[in-house]
């Protein structure tokens, strides 16, 4: 029991990650805006569907704007709350748009005392049918966006397209980090084996690699599921991180093939340790240099980001890092059981 404190710690951290990662609600946000277009010079009724919102509480404090930029924004003149999750906002849209274009996307901004401010970018397209009138209507500037409420609650950020799947951060992304940590530990064990020549170190390295590879495959599969519902494809084309990962897993599968093809135990340990270290060296550019050079759907490379480091807010960090440690410890636990089985087998065979 004394030496298994880290197993308990790992399970506790994972439990914490599961409980908080799954139960903590998302911040209120705008889920849908219908219709997504309107014609100027009319009064149009726009239905805003919220997510985790409480429209019925302090309903009179809700304000809705259609925002073009910092200068021009049109406030809804009447808001009719249907229930907690939906409201109708009616806009008296002036005949002329405050820009030269006839068609323009407007961002919908909502403010609520209870839920705080939320934004839905490019929510409504306004089309100007009528010809040009000389002056821009003062309606665009009379009610500027001001006094937005900021609510400080422990919540996960609400992001369009991602919605609840932002929680996958604790399961998909942290699996990757755990895999990398396990592989690094396995390389350390390989070094140790080369220095000492003890078969135990080789078995440790093998077990850690096996656990890491399992984590890698799980990361790949979970990533594929997530990608299908975020980017619309299980295997997004030209997605460099995905392809690099597949190559990395191939390298580690080759490691197992190499082990299988060597008979002599002493030789197997040494050669697979050498390959392990060499493969890891080749893996560094694969996982860190190449993805950074090309554009990718993943955050942190090429500009396109679902959430980069600036988006990973503190609430998420508080669950993410424990989750990484938890998954790593779970991997070490799995590896240690495998190691014990290998050691036992060796004991039986050498009897």
């Amino acid at each position: 029991m004394k030496s298994s404190w880290w197993k308990i710690l790992g399970v506790a951290l994972l439990l914490y990650a599961f409980i908080f990662g799954l139960l903590m609600p998302l911040k209120p946000g705008i889920y849908a805006v219908t219709p997504d277009n309107a014609i100027t010079g009319t009064t149009s009724l726009i239905r805003v569907e919220g997510y985790n919102t409480n429209f019925t509480k302090e309903a009179e404090s809700i304000k809705v704007w259609l925002k073009l930029n910092d200068t021009f924004a049109l406030m809804a003149n009447k808001i009719q709350v249907i229930d907690d999750m939906a409201l109708n906002a009616s806009f008296d849209i002036p005949v002329q748009l405050p820009i030269k274009k006839r068609i323009k996307n407007f961002t919908l901004v909502m403010d609520h005392k209870v839920d705080g401010a939320s934004v839905s970018p490019s929510a409504v397209t306004l089309t100007q049918k009528a010809d040009k009138v000389d002056n821009i209507s003062p309606q665009w500037t009379t009610n500027p966006i001001a006094g937005l409420t900021i609510v400080n609650k422990f919540n996960f950020p609400f992001r369009n397209i991602l919605y609840e799947t932002i929680r996958n951060l604790y399961f998909h992304v942290s699996l990757w980090l755990a895999m990398m940590i396990l592989f690094i530990a396995s390389v350390v064990m390989s070094f140790k084996h080369l220095r000492s020549g003890k078969p135990e170190d080789d078995w440790k390295s093998l077990s850690l690699t096996a656990a890491g590879t399992l984590m890698g495959f799980l990361g790949l599969f979970t990533g594929m599921i997530w990608a299908q519902y975020t980017w619309g494809s299980f295997w997004p084309k030209n997605e460099v991180k995905l392809n690099m990962t597949a190559v990395a897993l191939l390298i580690y599968l080759a490691y197992f093939v190499l082990r299988g093809s060597l008979e002599n135990q002493e030789q197997r340990g040494r050669i697979s340790a050498v390959y392990n270290i060499f493969a890891f060296a080749a893996l560094i550019p694969l996982l860190y240099v190449v993805p950074r050079l090309t554009s990718s759907l993943h955050p942190g490379s090429g500009g396109n980001s679902t959430f980069g480091s600036e988006d990973l807010d503190n609430t998420m960090r508080a669950v993410f890092y424990p989750a990484v440690i938890g998954w790593t410890l779970l991997g070490v636990w799995m590896g240690s059981i495998m190691y014990r089985a290998i050691a036992l087998k060796d004991k039986i065979l050498s009897r």
Binding site: E164, F171, I225, Y229, G232
Partner: protein, 71 residues
């Protein structure tokens, strides 16, 4: 055992295209803020861990048999 695996595979091949065909916003996986995607991810991880357990179980059973035979 083999038959069951075969059945499972057939069911999977029937189901997966129908799952992929649903791309509308209101399908099951996309309902309630896509929470079922998180469920699917967790189930995948669970399956992976169970498969690893089965692998270890078989390995250790073999060892037990060897001990019985030798000991």
């Amino acid at each position: 055992m083999k038959k069951r695996v075969l059945n499972f595979l057939i069911i999977m091949t029937l189901f997966v295209p129908s799952l992929m065909a649903q791309v509308e916003r209101t399908d099951f996986m996309r309902s309630i803020g896509k929470i079922y995607v998180v469920v699917a991810v967790i189930l995948t991880i669970f399956t992976g861990i169970i498969l690893f357990l089965i692998y270890l179980d078989r390995k250790i059973s073999r060892l037990e048999k060897q001990i019985e035979k030798n000991g």
